[in-house]
């Protein structure tokens, strides 16, 4: 009885946080819309180019490449939602409530996951319906996309907790995304990159995302799951870093 009541209160608190964070996201819909609509346009423009260069798998390269590039740019949505809590000094107020830190993170994560899932779903649905992308194993693709979303969530949270300002966060997200997607073979296929770039490509999260998704599209469970596991590990490590930083707080006392 007591446990059920406690669980009920926990759900009420998580619900309040999710509603609130979704409300904040919807209040400024510009970044959300641009990160969903712009990749669709870019994908349409780049697909013919990729098909001409890669007769076998050009559409898959265009969809996954643009998808990964723009989902990395969506890091700033996750990062901003955490950094804003710091600049508004609201994070400590949340910590002072009855909500457990895990509930606070869940309240932040659920809307962010929803946004990233909508983005990924929009990209692959558009790629499949309009550009003729062949998805051999939809469940495998969903698994790869899920692993990628988890990695993005962890990376976004880590950037949001470590960035000292909104300018720094924006610069880190933009620069990091471009470097990661270029090195990872998202924008330019790995095969045409110089040897040194191919050698360092596995350092980039984009590499694991692109390869996991392309493997899922061609129905290769082994590669998808292996590379997906790397993304999950990366997401968990970055998330742990964010949790550690969050647990230290940003109260005024830290400045004494």
């Amino acid at each position: 009885m007591f446990d059920r009541r406690r669980r009920g209160r926990r759900l009420i608190r998580i619900g309040a946080l999710v509603r609130h964070n979704l409300g904040l996201l919807v209040r400024e819909p510009g970044p959300l819309v641009s990160r969903i609509v712009v990749p669709l346009l870019l994908m349409s423009l780049m697909a013919p180019l990729y098909r001409a260069a890669m007769p076998d798998g050009g559409t898959a390269a265009a969809v996954t490449g643009v998808g990964v590039t723009f989902s990395l740019l969506a890091l700033s949505i996750v990062g901003t939602s955490i950094l804003s809590e710091r600049t508004w000094h609201t994070w400590d107020r949340l910590r002072a409530t009855a909500a457990h830190p895990a509930e606070l993170l869940a309240g932040k994560a659920v809307p962010a996951v929803a946004v990233l899932a909508v983005q990924q779903a929009a990209l692959f649905t558009y790629g499949s319906w309009i550009l003729g992308l062949r998805i051999a194993h939809p469940a495998l693709l969903a698994t790869a996309a899920g692993a990628w979303i988890l990695a993005l969530l962890g990376l976004g949270a880590a950037i949001g907790t470590l960035a000292p300002s909104h300018g720094a966060l924006s610069a880190a997200c933009d620069l990091g995304s471009v470097l990661t997607t270029c090195l990872g073979g998202a924008l330019v296929p790995l095969a045409v990159l110089p040897g040194w770039a191919r050698a360092v490509a596995p350092v980039s999260p984009g590499y694991w995302a692109v390869t996991a998704m392309r493997a899922a599209l061609s129905g290769e469970p082994g590669t998808t799951l292996r590379h997906g596991a790397v993304l999950v590990g990366l997401g968990l490590a970055a998330g742990a870093l964010a949790c550690w930083r969050i647990s230290r707080g940003w109260g005024r006392s830290r400045l004494l």
Binding site: I12, H20, W88
Partner: protein, 296 residues
Amino acid sequence: MIVAEQLVKRYGPVTALDGFDLTVAPGEIVGLIGHNGAGKTTFAEIVAGLVRPDAGRVEVTGTPGLSPQEPALYLPATVRQNLRLFAGLAGLHGRRLRAAVDEIATALRVTGLLDRPVGTLSGGQRRRVQAATAMVQRPAALLLDEPTVGADPASREALLQVVRDRAGDGAAVCYTTHYLPELDDLDATLAVAARGRVIARGPRARLLDGLPGHVAVRFAGPVPAALREQGTVIDGELHIPTTDPAATLGALLRDGHSPTGVDMRKPTLDDLYHVLAVPPAVASPAAASPAGVPHV
């Protein structure tokens, strides 16, 4: 109930709390006063669970409602959304949540602001909203850190009334302010913090007992030379410190002096604050250990 015993907190070489003791009983309002850096905010952060003390013990009934010194609200969200969030985090939902939001909004006179984004409000209005978010869920313990800064008189009175009501309902209230007359309005008992500890604690009357008030007298001409050594001449007025202003004035008149203007002032919280809480570098040696002030 808030119980803090022998709290110690250091930040590198800075000792923020150095054996801080304070108990606030249910239904009691304690006015915590002290100069900047006396440890008030660190104490509030520890009670709120934001900071762990290096030593000591703290016990609080339930989750305290916290209104920190620095405005901490969601600026793009409306006042209603801010209130709903904090009410929801306290476990309220549905009709009870809506009723709690409406009640605190009415009590703190922010009903007309409910659908405005907090970012469009004035500083005083934001403070009121912040206090509302701390009190919306009727917590058993309240930590209010200078909640009335920038508030107009009507808003200040509304806020003080809600604080009194919450205490009347049994909440333990720790109220920090530099605006001391508010503590009279709240009929608060006092705790004076200095150098990381509470150096005086008790009812206002007991703490003020024995503190000097003053008599300020003006004369048609210069202050008579015979009287100058009894006090300080400021702008042609003689200010005489005294614990009994009426008796001091009576003695002056009996001695044949004929002032043209008199101002008598009993000791106030400002005097207590000055005597006890002003840092040693500022306070005079005589003021540093006043006679008759009950220390803890």
